[in-house]
Amino acid sequence: MAFTPTKETYSGKVYSVTIGTGDGAVTFGGENVLPFHSFEGAAPNKPVIAYEIQDVPPADWPENVQKPFAAVSGDPVTWAKHCQDELKATALALRLVGTHPDRENRSAEEAAKTVKDVLAAIKVPLIILGSNHPEKDSSVLVAASEAAKGGNCVIGKAQEANYKTIAAAAMANNHKLIAMSELDINLSKQLNILITQMGFEKERLITDPMCSALGYGLEYTYSVMERIRLAALTQNDATMQPPMLGDIGMYVWKVKETQAPEADLPHWGALEERGIAWEAMTATGLLVAGAELLIMRHPKAVAEVQKTIAELI
């Protein structure tokens, strides 16, 4: 007698979201099954990995993840083109970290110019991120949204404290929007509700339940993502059906395991390899939890995760 695998059927479906324009546009989400369960239903799109770049040189990144970009990261446009042309990035995430009041405190106008310049130089979709300073982000991301009009970009991140202005700007300029809450599934749902109650279409949202690195709370992110996906698929909860973001790089490349030298901790092994493995493992974990869009830094970690995706889908 032939073996028949048990199949689950689900009542809900994740929205498929397309970002970018023309030949460069990419689509993620759209599945009606749990991550990598394509044998149970439809999983038409692969997860997308965006390379993270910044508006200012990455002096705060650990040396091993600065190194691959050393020749290009002095200028965001050169950096962006390098990721697109040499690393074959399918999407980019420009973090306007230089606008943070405690950093270079660059103005919204300066940020808007960087966005314009980068967008003019690339064909792949652009994710535009603020500096995670809720107040400053409301002016920076409004200016950035306007500067990127027509680019079908992703604007992020709208949080409880600033979602109104950022969602309005993303809506007016026809972008997608990242809604971020802090590791609380009920607040994540609530924020999606509040944003859609403003008239923002839920099909244009991306949920960020907040990332964390392996060893530093990854299990919390994992569990929230898993429960969001189950609500979307098994309870057909429309507020929880936008695809999910894993903002991997910035969380991974600040933990001890990606920075402590081998000389100090010989039993931890080679630092460079360890950092790459840490980023790849964190990303893979969140793919299994349900993330459809990842933001990552190290080219070798990206390559590893892409290999996993290709093998599993």
Partner: protein
């Protein structure tokens, strides 16, 4: 159904200020209102009361009983404050209730007081090791508390088992586990064990307009499971009883005439039963 009026709590600003100033007015006004609205016992929650807890509890008990012919529920973690309160409690309208003992050895002296003063005691089904994971764990802890009560000389008829209601906004999956625990507790003795809940904790952290709705329907859910008493707002519970027929009809899948009420009950039931994920705006979805 015994309602233990919950409004006299140190957490409320007005009550806290009255306690600090020993101002009888607000305390007596609130106690009287709770009595008129149908409370059978008045809860006096003075918090941990590490300094001067004895005086404060005695003042609370006498202040309440000056105007209200009801027993008092002595609510504090300070055992000597409880004993002080028990000494002045006027039991002509019923025996006092102590809130609470648990399976934590530090709380066993409460059972000694219960036996010594023939008071009734609430047994909160938590141990030293944190929150119970499910109904089964709550029942296992309840069994331990029951054994301990008998050992200390508190009759099981005087013990109220409390499964610990958790906030739906953060611990949605516990809502039905508590309902299940209420059912299990009753089967642990013959006659059935008495049960109690701190009801309004279900809606702690929820928007103000949502709180009474969650409180009412969760109360009816627990009542259907056999709950014998609740620390709650008597007015809200009276409103709940008015709506019981509608609630039971919706629960049974029937259509009721009041469409808006039906939607409100249905959505709240879905959240309590875990059919939809809780969000503060769940009623608007």
């Amino acid at each position: 159904m015994l309602i233990i009026g919950e409004k006299l709590s140190i957490i409320a600003k007005r009550v806290r200020e009255a306690m600090m100033k020993k101002d009888k007015g607000p305390i007596q006004e609130i106690a009287t209102r709770q009595w008129k609205e149908g409370s059978g016992i008045i809860d006096a929650n003075i918090g941990p009361a590490e300094d001067g807890g004895e005086d404060l509890m005695q003042w609370m008990v006498t202040t309440i009983q000056e105007v209200v012919p009801l027993p008092v529920c002595l609510d504090t973690t300070n055992a000597s404050a409880i004993e002080a309160g028990l000494k002045v409690h006027n039991s002509q309208w019923g025996r006092p209730l102590i809130n609470s003992t648990s399976n934590d050895p530090e709380r066993f002296p409460i059972l000694e007081l219960g036996a010594k003063y023939q008071a009734q005691v609430i047994g909160l089904t938590v141990g030293k090791g944190g929150l119970p994971a499910d109904a089964g764990e709550r029942a296992a802890i309840a069994a331990e508390i029951m054994a301990r009560a008998m050992e200390y000389g508190v009759p099981l008829e005087d013990l109220y088992l409390d499964p610990l209601v958790l906030q739906i906004a953060t611990s949605q999956d516990h809502a039905m586990k508590v309902v299940e625990a209420i059912q299990m507790f009753q089967e642990m003795n013959d006659p059935a064990m008495k049960t109690v809940v701190g009801l309004s904790n279900i809606s702690n952290g929820c928007p103000k307009h949502v709180r009474p709705i969650l409180n009412k329907y969760y109360f009816l859910m627990l009542m259907n499971a056999g709950l014998t008493s609740a620390i709650a707002d008597a007015k809200e519970m009276a409103d709940a009883l008015q709506e019981k027929q509608m609630f039971d009809d919706v629960l049974a899948g029937k259509t009721i005439a009041d469409a808006a009420k039906m939607t409100e009950i249905r959505k709240t039931l879905d959240v309590i039963q875990g059919n939809t994920l809780y969000a503060h705006s769940y009623l608007e979805m």
